[in-house]
Structure formats: structure tokens, C-alpha cells
Point group: C2
Chain length 401, copies 2
Amino acid sequence: MIVQKYGGSSVATPEKIRGVAERIKQRVDRGEKLVVVVSAMGKTTNSLIALAEQVSPEPSPRELDMLLSTGEQVTSALLAMALCDMGIQALSYNAFQLGMTTTGGFTNARIMDLNLNKLKTQLNRRNVLVVTGFQGITQEGDVTTLGRGGSDTSAVAIAAKCGCRCEIYSDVAGVYTCDPNRCSGARKLEYITYDEMLELSSLGAKVLHSRAVEIAKKYSVDLYCASTFSDERGTHVVNSLPEWLEQPVVSGVTTDSNQTRVNISRLPRSASVMSTLFSGLAGKGVNVDMISTVNENGHSYLTFTVVDATEKTVLETVRESLAPWEGWSVSADRNVAKVSAVGVGMKSAPGVAARFFSALDRKGINMLGTTTSEIKISALVSRDDGEEALRALVEEFGLVE
Amino acid sequence: MIVQKYGGSSVATPEKIRGVAERIKQRVDRGEKLVVVVSAMGKTTNSLIALAEQVSPEPSPRELDMLLSTGEQVTSALLAMALCDMGIQALSYNAFQLGMTTTGGFTNARIMDLNLNKLKTQLNRRNVLVVTGFQGITQEGDVTTLGRGGSDTSAVAIAAKCGCRCEIYSDVAGVYTCDPNRCSGARKLEYITYDEMLELSSLGAKVLHSRAVEIAKKYSVDLYCASTFSDERGTHVVNSLPEWLEQPVVSGVTTDSNQTRVNISRLPRSASVMSTLFSGLAGKGVNVDMISTVNENGHSYLTFTVVDATEKTVLETVRESLAPWEGWSVSADRNVAKVSAVGVGMKSAPGVAARFFSALDRKGINMLGTTTSEIKISALVSRDDGEEALRALVEEFGLVE
């Protein structure tokens, strides 16, 4: 038994759906049993959101999930039809039918459980179950969705529960040392660790949803990413690289231009200021990154980054949280990009940070901030410098052919 | 508490959905609690069927229902959003959430039950529940649909279960003495009986789905049909006409051009031939109408009508069923139309059939067959004569102003 997931661009048209059905048929003909998780066709989710906004400028999150979940149901029914048409015993399943329960956080719910018995019983009688990705239900029976890219999470969660392998198919043939659309000569990685993949997927690489990688890591799911449209070999996401493989210091580099830098000047130096502020932001569900503070003349100067889309919420929350204090000011700057290098090899190779900083420095790129983890170094640069910074790192760490 | 139903043309665009929400708001402001049943937006169901046919020439019925049910879910979510946006406590509900169980006959299921407790509990806490029409689930949890026009049935079934009034809104302002698009001066009826409405809706008048009228009659549901787009008074469908109302002999006339006449010649005269044939057709779910037989020279000549769409199935079934016998031949003719006059007053007014036949005769219209019931007279005529036959009847029974 294997779980496969096909992304939106893989099922964008009836012809592509039949193409996916052909691929599945080849596997069934080899005697495999498949659970196939599907996304909504092409840009369907965006169209549905646009429809919702024509009806209500701020749609009810519960109703938005009810609306968006139809996209995956359409694909699952069509793919099951295409399979039946090829003589394969296939059945579509939605979140209700599979008991895919989640927390109640509409538009960004987290999977809690699924009805494994039902899934196994049905799969015993058939060759293929086609399951709606992205959606779940609460214990009260409300429809939820798992947030953008959530179909990856659905697939990995099912694979984790079933203790089987998970294959993620999309229009990208695997994980590369850097985005092949931006770096010519980018190399495809045969293996990458969960930890590296987690840093890469949360850093803006779009191959895999980071929640999916978290779950894969937690349950040691054998994860494989490859192209829907070719048979070339993809990338295995694993716990640790095979020993025979040469361990690179840096496995990949990535940029994220979807960042806003928030600057707060002349904060009073008090622990309660900071805790009030960050509790306020956490309360609104805002992820804060690259926090740095400087103290001068009895004041604090605070900088952090958030994703672009949350800017309005962040500024409002900052103003509310800091209302009891006076004299401070806040500003936001979208003209930034985050460049990062990731590699498990960093742990055992000293001097990687020095090489990283020198590479940017040689190109005259000014760093607005940095953060590091055991396997990652990130720098914030001006958005205009993002591409050049990426090229500098690619050259420095020998990531292109 | 009141059940309302809005048809596809009433919710065809985001603007129209907001318009429906405004109408609902007026009722809520008067303190009413509403269960609102919705159809898919405009031509959505047709588009989904076209999509299915691109994937599979004969889509699996189970998967087709899974696909089509998304149309109503989209509308219910959008209408609930629009209501929430106007400050009304509204919640969308699909067949799963409402426990709307049906028989397992995909694409043409029949409602068996719904979770009344859940509906009442939710409605106690809120003003409006927006429920997906047309869809149900089997006891095993598969998605079913109720056949074309099934949202009327959903609405009436909920009203029957709740013991409340049911209002059906569409782009037609009520039930007329004949189709206002074909007879200028057609009068809107203030009242019509269930029995008359049943004859009219199964005879091709498109105001109400006949299953819905059957259920309304069985449970004496107070049924009201009116326009979504105006406030003019609609039509009440009732058990018997109010006594103060002048009882018309004929309440309405209708034509149905969606009929095929099947002729079978030189059948052996044997009861087992007929029972084999009609059991075969019943086994395929074909509704047969206007059956007539003539015996001549030791053979039977049989004629009956079926709806156009079943022609292929019917001819195949006839050939299979009659295979044990020889010498007969079968042909099908689509060039027919059925014209009918309906009225409870017929029961007590002799000579209505004579007036009906004379009216057609005076226009030189040849009748290919006739059937009558206590409250209905139908004649089969050439399709070209359909319109003129309708006008003859309208004049004869004084149905226009």
C-alpha cells in the first residue's frame, strides 16, 4: 500500500486527470494498492476565494472552508471516474467519509485523526481510493481546511497513520540545490533530510508544505517528491543521508521575498514591553522571525520580520499592545528579501557562516540582519539584492554544475 | 419556522445571492426563523456534467453524485457568507451534516430521513440555516442526488419533517393556467390542489418537481410558489380549493414535447408478451405513459410514450424482452407532443372530454392517442401541432384574460 498525492497543476484539466489516471493504472497493473490524495484543479481555489469576496468582503471562515472544500471533491470524483472508465476499481472519499478529523481552526486546521479501519476495509475491496486533500471535519461535523498546501499534509498524515510510503507528485521534479527557474544548472538532490527540508519549505521553497514535512519527520514517513509529467527520478526525504553519499556542507539555498520588516524605535527598556508585544502577536497567530534588538541611550530598537500578508494585522497589534507606553514609533518595510543556506553538514563544518557572509560582502550586498540555526544561515537583504545574493551563495557553495 | 427554497436562476451570480440574502434578512427582521434550501448556481450542474463527460463517456453514477453535490455546497456556503455579512446568524449545512439519508439509487435517490434534532438545535441558536438541496447520503455514507429538480424535494421533505410551511422561489411567479411564455394573457392561479399540481408537474410544467408535490400531499405541507425577483403574490398549493373560490372545470393546460412514441407491430396475442415487456421496462426504471393496444388479425399493435432521453434504453429493452417471440417490429417517433388539461372540477362536470376533443377537431388537429384520469385529459398530437392544440384548449376553457 502506497499513498500518492497529485497537486493542482497535475490535475488542472480533464486531459491531465486522465493522464494521472494512466500513471495510477500502471502501478495498479503491477499489483499495488494506492490511496491517492488530490488537490483542487489548477487555480480553482483562487477562483472560489474570488467568488466569496464578491459576496462578502470578509467571508465567514467556517463558510469559506465549506466553499473551498468543494474544489478537492470535484477532482476526487473526476479522477475516480477516469479510473473506473479504465476498468480500475476506484472510489472517491471526502473528509467526512474518511473521518478525517481536525482541530476547529477554520482555514488553518490541524489533522487529529482518521478512520483507518474504514480506509483499510475499502482498500481491501478495491485497488484505489481517491481522497480529497486539504480538507477535514471537526468533531462537531463542521468542514475545515488545512491552509495553503494542505493536501501535502493530508497525504503524509494518511501515510503516517498507515505506516506506508508517501509519494508527492507535482510540476517540479524534486528538490533542487536552488530554484531551477532562477539558477541555471541547479542540481536535483537525490536525498535530503527532514530537517533540511523543513528549513527549506518554511523558507519559501515551494516543493513541500512544511506541516507535511513535520509530520513525515515525526512518524518517519518514507517521503518521495517527483514530477507528474515525467519518469525521471525525484528526491527522497529521509531521516539522515545515506552514509555512502558525500555529505555536502550546504544542500540548498533559497530566497523568500514575501517578507516585511517591522522596525520599532525608542521602546522603553522593560521586559514587560517585549512580552506584552510578542504575546499580542502570538495571540493573533502571527509568526515572527529574525528578531533582533539593540539598546542605546536607555531605549530599545527592535526589528523583526513577518510574512507580507500579515502586515496590517501586525501593525494594528503592535499599536494596541504598546498603547500603555509612550514615545515609541513603528514602521514597516517590504523592500526586503531573506536568503538562506541550509545543510546538515554545517553542524560538523566550522566556518560556514564566515563563507556565507564573505560571499555576500564580495558582491557589495549589505545585510540588514541575520539569524542562524544548527543547519541554517539566513540573511535579510534589500529586495533588489535578493537575486544577486542567491547567485553569490550558489557559487560559494558549488551548488550548480 | 419556515422552509424556503431558491432555484438555480435565483442564485446564478454573487449579486443575485446577495439579493436573496436581502430578502431573507427582511423576514428575519420580522422575527422569523428560516431553513433555506438552495440549488446550484445557474447552469453549474450542466457544466459539471460536461466536465464529467470529458473524463469518462459514461461516468460512474456514484462519482457523478459526488461531483454534482458540490454545486449546492458552493451556493449554500456563499449564501451563508452573504447573510453573515449582513449581521445575520446563519450557518450552511450539507446532507452529511444534516443526516439527510436517502435510498442508495445514485443520480435518482429518494429521501428517507433527516436529523430533526440537529436541525432544531442549530436553528434555536441562530436565525437561518442554509441547506444544500438536491443531495443526500446513503446509510453507508455515500453521496447521492435526488434527480433533476431535486432541491424542491429536499425543501418539502424538510418542511414535512418539521411540520411547517414551505415557500418555493424561482424565476416564475407562481402556477399559471398555461405557460405564460407561450400563451399571452395566461392567468396566475391563487390556489391549486396537490392533485392538479401533480398532474401538471409530471406533465411538463416546470414550476415544481413532482416528487416534491407528492411529499407535500402525503404530509399536507402548506406549499407556496412565488417569484424571487418581485413581491407579487404567488400560488398556494393546497389539499382542496377554498370554498369561496369559484371552482373552474379546467385549472390549467400544458404541453410536453419531450416525448417519444414507441410503436410495436404484430405482437403475438399473449398475456405473457405484455407482462414480459413491461416488467423489462420497469426493471430499467423507465416510466411508460399513454399505453394503448389494438388487436387485429390475431396480432396486437401496441403504442406507448416515454420521455425522449430514455429512447435508447427503451429500444434495447424492447428487443431483449421480446427476443423469445418472432414476427414483431418496433419503431420510435419523436415527432409527437402531449397536450393536457387538468382540473379537479372535471370530476363533477360531465362533457369536459367532449369539449376537449371538439376543440382540437375544430382546428383540424389529428389525435394520435388519448388518456384520461379523474382530473386530467391528455392527447398525443404531432409535435408541429402542439402549440396550436394548446391555444385551442386555452380558448375553449377560458384560461386567458
